[in-house]
């Protein structure tokens, strides 16, 4: 099963390598990993999407907790939480499809962040389903390039599953 794990870590060099090294060294999957500074710049916040059975996920969270630079590990999958991902898609539609691209972007509350004679670059934010749905719709239009941030996740306040 897929799990989304958030980490509060020391904002030091080498921390990312400790964490990615832990995953590769013990043969765990990383589907996505995103990292950024916390409000307090001494710390960083990480979101890792991984998969495995319950025993593997238990080992992953324990092993992460064991790292000296990791302060807090939360498997948010177990709680009510919000997940978001941002994608930038560069599409090169045929002239007669340009309007449809813009229309779909509007429906998905996407934004056109760059355009040229032959292309649009669209920014889409949402959960996985929404992002995947939009990518699916853009495929026949001709996707030239696509970049994803990986997921970030946060717990909902006051709501525990």
């Amino acid at each position: 099963m897929r799990h989304t794990i958030t980490l509060l870590v020391e904002n030091r060099f080498g921390v990312l390598s400790r964490i990615s090294g832990l995953f590769s060294g013990r043969g765990y999957n990383i589907e996505s990993l995103s990292v950024g500074e916390e409000i307090d710049p001494r710390y960083s916040q990480m979101t890792i999407v991984t998969s495995g059975d319950d025993l593997i996920i238990e080992q992953i969270t324990k092993q992460l907790n064991k790292l000296v630079d990791v302060i807090k590990v939360t498997d948010v999958t177990e709680f009510e939480h919000v997940e978001r991902e941002m994608v930038l898609i560069k599409v090169t539609p045929r002239p007669e499809k340009k309007a449809e691209v813009l229309n779909l972007a509007g429906i998905f509350r996407g934004r056109v962040v760059d355009s040229s004679e032959s292309s649009y670059t669209i920014e889409i934010t949402g959960d996985e389903k929404k992002v995947d749905a939009f990518i699916g719709l853009m495929k026949p239009m001709g996707i030239k390039d696509l970049v994803r941030t990986g997921k970030v996740a946060i717990l909902r306040e006051g709501l525990k599953k």
Binding site: F13, E58, K66, V68, I71
Partner: protein, 583 residues
């Protein structure tokens, strides 16, 4: 305030941590530090002949004393040579602080002379590591490093010190306190869980304690003995746990697992409750995990949460220090049934069964008057020392025989590379042990393969007048691998015959040590008496042993632990094949 250089701060901090000995090797980027050690009165640097030897020596020192071992080496090859030693310590939870020099900060990343990213290289085999980029951080880093190395589940910590940091000056402030937001080991076990464990022990009819290295590290041998003797529970000790429960005690089952005793493995497989203390269910202990202790509930007490439910299912997980948890557990168990006699009554049938297994298949081998049996050498060492020695081992057959045929009654008297299985560990480790205990008899039980992996440390032993005794069980082979080839690879002895083995007597003599040799069984005792007691110097005792001898019992890798091979089966097969019976 007087400003100190990084090198002086390092040495001051080591003194504050109570360090008396450093094991090390100099080099370009650590010259500043070595310069301050030149006339230091309080700290003695033991110069080994290879950096790996330095780490193993520090490791032996740490295992024998419980205090952290300290290593100081240079950058690049000096640092990379420590990796095997660090990984060895990491697998066996040994507290070390390894200080490596590094090229100046402004050169890091430039592929400078003798530059290696040792922090990157050792990340997976240290408990934690540091690159110090600013001399102002140095004192805090050292304090943290020692704290992390010795607390919780101990382990090696590496500090990488660029040359400019060793020369940089700052005010020296010894931090009285440190704060590590992400590091808070749990010592006290969960009360409710301990209570549950007590109930389970009271209900069980066929319990077994499996005691590991954690019992020794936490100093829980007394508490273990109290539990075992009061509630009449048999104890099997893993390779790392040897000595945490007296080998001569009636309740002791010896070692479990691949080369464990018949009765330890039988007891585990038949038990209804396994009490695992400070051990991690290594594959050499469990064999096939699906068929491990099939009828038992498992109580697992360990300070490292990742050890729990990693390899086997657990019914009562207790994260905590073994000693603290056992202290609490013993209090609960004492209440009911209140007397030892009652427990003896309850356990009568189970202990009778275990005694029957012990009689059925004791640890044994076929004795000989013609050729020296390696097991006989180990037995003789035990007999002559009466168990009053600290034994280190190399890895392979020598290690297993040292575990099987010598009885250890005290913790920290059997010192061996368990997890990583590092050949070449025993001799430098013995040097570290001897340094910590100058008056103790320290014996490395070695093989002719392993001893050659760090044989250069003869110089270290001789130079420091350390009377380490090395008993080489010389069979001309990498015996354990040869054994697998014989049993599982159709006797195809691919590259396990050493062919050229040096004359160990001459090697010893050339370094200024004493060399002795026994070629026949009748010479064994004389050589041992001479080497262990008469000679007050470093000694190599070379025993030409039966090369066909194998370690039994043996559980083939991946088989359930009660599927054991025994010596007599081998003899039967030899007969079937029409060959001369070996035994």
């Amino acid at each position: 305030m007087k400003q100190l250089t990084g090198s002086e701060i390092l040495i001051e901090c080591l003194k504050k941590e109570g360090v008396k000995h450093i094991f090390g090797y100099p080099g370009g980027v650590v010259l500043n530090i070595f310069d301050f050690l030149y006339d230091d009165k309080d700290i003695k640097l033991i110069l080994t002949r290879h950096e790996q030897g330095a780490v193993h020596a520090a490791d032996g020192y740490a295992r024998a004393t419980g205090k952290p071992g300290v290593v100081l080496v240079t950058s690049g090859p000096g640092a990379t040579n420590t990796v095997t030693g660090i990984a060895t310590a990491s697998m066996d939870s040994v507290p070390l602080v390894v200080i490596t020099g590094q090229v100046p900060t402004m050169l890091i990343g430039n592929d400078a002379f003798q530059e290696a990213d040792i922090v990157g290289i050792t990340r997976p085999c240290t408990k934690h590591n540091y690159l110090v980029k600013d001399v102002n951080e140095l004192a805090v880093v050292i304090k943290e490093a020692f704290h992390i190395a010795v607390s919780g589940r101990p382990g090696p910590v590496l500090i990488d010190l660029p040359k400019d940091v060793t020369a940089g000056k700052t005010d020296f402030v010894w931090p009285e306190k440190i704060q590590l937001a992400g590091y808070k080991p749990r010592y006290e076990g969960n009360k409710w869980m301990i209570n549950q464990a007590a109930h389970m022990i009271e209900k069980s009819r066929k319990p077994v304690i499996v005691a590991g290295g954690g019992v020794i590290i936490s100093g829980a041998h007394k508490e273990l003995r109290e539990l075992a003797e009061h509630a009449q529970i048999p104890v099997t000790t893993t390779l790392m746990g040897i000595g945490c429960f007296p080998g001569t005690n009636r309740l002791c089952l010896g070692m479990p697992g691949m080369h464990g005793t018949y009765y330890a493995n039988k007891a585990i497989q038949e038990s209804d409750l396994l009490i695992a203390l400070g051990m991690r269910f290594d594959d050499r202990v469990t064999g096939k995990t699906d068929s491990f202790a099939p009828n038992a509930s498992i109580i697992h007490i360990d300070i490292d949460p990742t050890s729990i439910r990693k390899n086997v299912r657990v019914d009562i997980p207790i994260v905590g220090d073994v000693r603290k948890v056992l202290t609490a557990l013993n209090k609960m168990i004492k209440t009911e049934p209140s007397s030892k006699a009652q427990w003896q009554e309850i356990r009568k049938a189970w202990l009778k069964q275990i005694d029957a297994w012990k009689r059925e298949r004791p640890l044994t081998y076929t004795r000989s008057d013609e050729v020296i049996k390696p097991q006989a050498v180990v037995e003789k060492i035990y007999e002559l020392t009466r168990g009053d020695a600290i034994i280190t081992t190399e890895v392979g057959q020598n290690q297993m025989w040292a575990a099987q045929f010598y009885k250890y009654d005290k913790p920290r008297t059997f010192i061996s590379s368990g997890g990583l299985g590092t050949m070449g560990f025993g001799f430098p480790a013995a040097i570290g042990v001897q340094l910590a205990f100058p008056d103790k008899l320290v014996i490395d039980i070695a093989g002719d393969g392993s001893i050659q992996m760090n044989i250069q440390e003869l110089a270290t032993a001789v130079l420091n007048r350390l009377p380490v005794k090395v008993a080489i069980l010389n069979n001309g082979y990498l015996g354990m691998v040869r054994q697998w080839q014989e049993l599982f690879y159709g006797e195809r002895y691919s590259h396990t015959a050493l062919d050229v083995v040096p004359d160990f007597v001459k090697v010893a003599e050339s370094y200024g040590a004493v060399g002795l040799r026994a070629s026949k069984p009748s010479e064994v005792e004389d050589v041992l008496r001479e080497g262990l007691f008469k000679v007050k110097k470093t000694v190599f005792m070379d025993f030409a042993v039966d090369w066909r001898e194998k370690v039994y019992p043996m559980v083939p890798a991946g088989a359930p632990i009660d599927h054991m091979l025994f010596e007599e089966q081998e003899a039967r097969q030899e007969k079937k094949k029409g060959l001369r019976a070996v035994k």
